[in-house]
Structures are given as structure tokens and as C-alpha cells.
Symmetry: C2
Subunit: 213 residues, 2 copies
């Protein structure tokens, strides 16, 4: 009901998580699911599921549950994953190259329209997906021409800030940063970090704690 109120960020992330089992249920499972079952699939509290959804409207039927198909559709519309998005990747190292080839991205409507690298030896190389690696110096112009909305940065850390600047010059509205440094952006550009080492370090800390007991 509180349609105008501010939505917590954790809620948005969970919506994406909820959509995963829904996609699977749409194929195999029953057409209706309760908040309790859905919560079970996602490892959260059932009340949390209901509250998260309630931010955006009433999607369930009391005494019954949620219709899988329409709930999934609603979530996709909320998250704006019901349309395609134009991406580019900067930094064609191991990680960048693997992301370019990701079928997963394509399947979800994330279309990688360009791949960049600052290494002259890589520029011009043709990738299996049909793209040709372009020079990082042309980022701004190409991003603008192709209407790229999101940039992924998989360069070495010391190049990340400069690359982010070029992406913003080209007009991207969001950056997914895989490097270990924190990038500063303008207010017009959203940033999300995906530093895998941070996740590992979190695990390692907790492992060590357990060992100490």
C-alpha cells in the first residue's frame, strides 16, 4: 500500500532473488505459491516476502497465495527486466572475456554491444560473439553512439577510475565495478561493486571465527 514511500534497497535485491525460483516454478511447479514456500526457496522470512511485495501493490490472494505467472511478470516489470538493456564491458582480461561470452546475460536481456581494452595488442581482435575489441580511448563516443546504458569495468584497478570517467562522458547511467577500488561517480551515474575478493574475505573471517571456538 505505501506505494509512494521509499523502497529499501535490500527489498530490490530480494525481488531479484524471488524471481529465480518463480522462473523455475513457471516450467514445472504448481501455478500458485505461498509466501512461506517462496521464502523457503530464498532463505528469508515469509513476512519479509509479503512486506517486500506490499511496497508495490497487492499481488496475492488471501487464503490462497500468489499466482506464479502474474507475480513473476509483476516483479519483472518492477525491476524493469521486462525489456532489453544495452551493456558494454571494459577490460578484456580473463574475467571480462568470460562475461562477454555469458549466455546468462543474453538470456536475461542484457545485450553486450561493445568490448573495450586499452592494450593495443588486443584491439581489433574478433570475439566469438561477433564483437571486435575496441580501443578504450573510443569509449565515450561509442557508448553514446550505441546508446549503451550500463558499463561493466573489469580492468586492472588503476585504470578503473579513468574508465568510469569515459563511460560517464558517453552517457552511461550505471556502472558495475569488478575492480578492488571504489570508483567516484557523478550523481547521474549509479554504481554497484562486485569485488569478489571482498566476498571471499568475508567467508574467510567467519571460518576463522569458527575455528577459534
Amino acid at each position: 500500500m505505501p506505494k509512494g514511500s521509499k523502497i529499501p534497497n535490500p527489498t530490490i535485491k530480494r525481488l531479484a532473488v524471488y524471481s529465480r525460483p518463480l522462473e523455475i516454478l513457471l516450467e514445472n511447479g504448481p501455478p500458485v505459491i505461498s509466501s512461506e514456500k517462496l521464502a523457503g526457496h530464498c532463505g528469508v522470512n515469509p513476512a519479509q516476502v509479503r512486506k517486500d511485495l506490499a511496497y508495490f501493490g497487492e499481488f496475492g490472494i488471501r487464503g490462497v497465495g500468489y499466482d506464479v505467472r502474474s507475480l513473476l511478470q509483476a516483479i519483472k516489470q518492477i525491476l524493469a527486466t521486462d525489456r532489453e538493456w544495452a551493456l558494454c564491458i571494459v577490460g578484456m582480461g580473463h574475467l571480462g572475456s568470460s562475461l562477454v561470452r555469458s549466455e546468462n546475460f543474453k538470456k536475461r536481456g542484457y545485450i553486450i554491444k561493445a568490448a573495450f581494452d586499452s592494450d593495443a595488442r588486443k584491439v581489433g581482435k574478433k570475439l566469438n560473439c561477433g564483437l571486435t575489441i575496441q580501443s578504450a580511448s573510443g569509449i565515450s563516443k561509442t557508448v553514446r553512439k550505441l546508446g549503451i546504458e550500463i558499463g561493466l569495468i573489469t580492468t586492472p584497478p588503476h585504470e578503473a577510475q579513468r574508465v568510469a570517467h569515459l563511460l560517464q562522458e558517453g552517457g552511461v547511467g550505471a556502472i558495475l565495478n569488478f575492480t578492488t577500488i571504489q570508483i567516484r561517480t557523478r550523481k547521474t551515474c549509479i554504481i554497484e561493486n562486485a569485488d569478489l575478493s571482498v566476498k571471499l574475505e568475508n567467508l574467510v573471517y567467519h571460518l576463522e571465527q569458527l575455528d577459534k571456538i
Copy 2:
């Protein structure tokens, strides 16, 4: 000071983030840094930096700041990144293969000791790093034999739960899950999710919100 009290999880993640600029400063920069400067590098509030560190002791000098070298050392000790950790990766698709080759992991002491895949055509293939891809059916035994502590899962989603089970059978204490499904683990096994699509969906939602205004 509250050395016994429970540490917030966000604090642990931020400690890892703090360590990044400290590593760089250790090479180039001044030997001392204030909470305000460090916070600036990491995009957080200075009081947050001080409070995070205060959970573990007193590392600064009033009126001066923190000694870069000793603070970094302290954080590494807290996070237990001052020693090596044995990893394995299950799922030698594009992403898994790129992670195996990651110099970044090795540099930070995460040693990949084994690589698995369930595809018979990939089993036996030799990787540049020296490892040979092993059959997923041998996960438990190999994990136990090599003393592997953390497992990375980069399989297709439908294999993830089964693989997680095998890893736990082998005695891993933590799993980093790159797939889109939520894995259930025993209490003796910590799990961390790294579903990249969730991050993209978060960005995409916020982009859409901005456009609507």
C-alpha cells in the same frame, strides 16, 4: 573496546574495502592516514571507519591518524587474510575457467587446488595453471584429501545444490555460490552468494526510477 560483542557483518565487508586503498598507500602514499581520508577513498562516513575499527581494538593515535602499515597488518590479521586458503572451483564454464586463471586470487593467497566439471568431455583437460579438470563425482574425496576449505560453484543452477552437498561431504567450511539459485547448507558451512544478475537488476531498477521522474 567492545571486543566480546557481536560484530556487524557490514563491518567485516568494509574492513576488506578499507584494506584496498591501504595497500596502495603502503607503496606510494604517506605513512599515516586519517579516518576522514580513508573514508573518502572508500565512500563511507569517517565515524563509520572509526567505529568499525574500534570493534577490534585501538589502532589509531588521537590527533594524528592511523599508521598505514600497522593498520593494514591489523586488518589482514582480523580478516585472516594473512595466511593462504585452499580453494576449489566446480563448473568449468566461461566464468569458472576465468576464475581459475585469476592472478588476483593467487596474489591474495587464495590457492586454487582443484577444478571440477561434470561434463565428461572436459574431464582430463589440462589447464594452463597446471591443474587438470577432474570429474565432479570425485569432489568429496579430493576436497578432503587436499584439505580444501572453500568451494566456488560456477555450475548451471540445477547442479548447484548437489555440488554443494558433495563439497560439504568433503568438509569445506564455506561456499561462494555464483549461480542464480539459493543453496541450502548445514550450519557447519557458511554460504555467500555472488549472483551477478542480481547486481545488474538492482542497477536496472534504479535506472528506470530515474527515467520515470
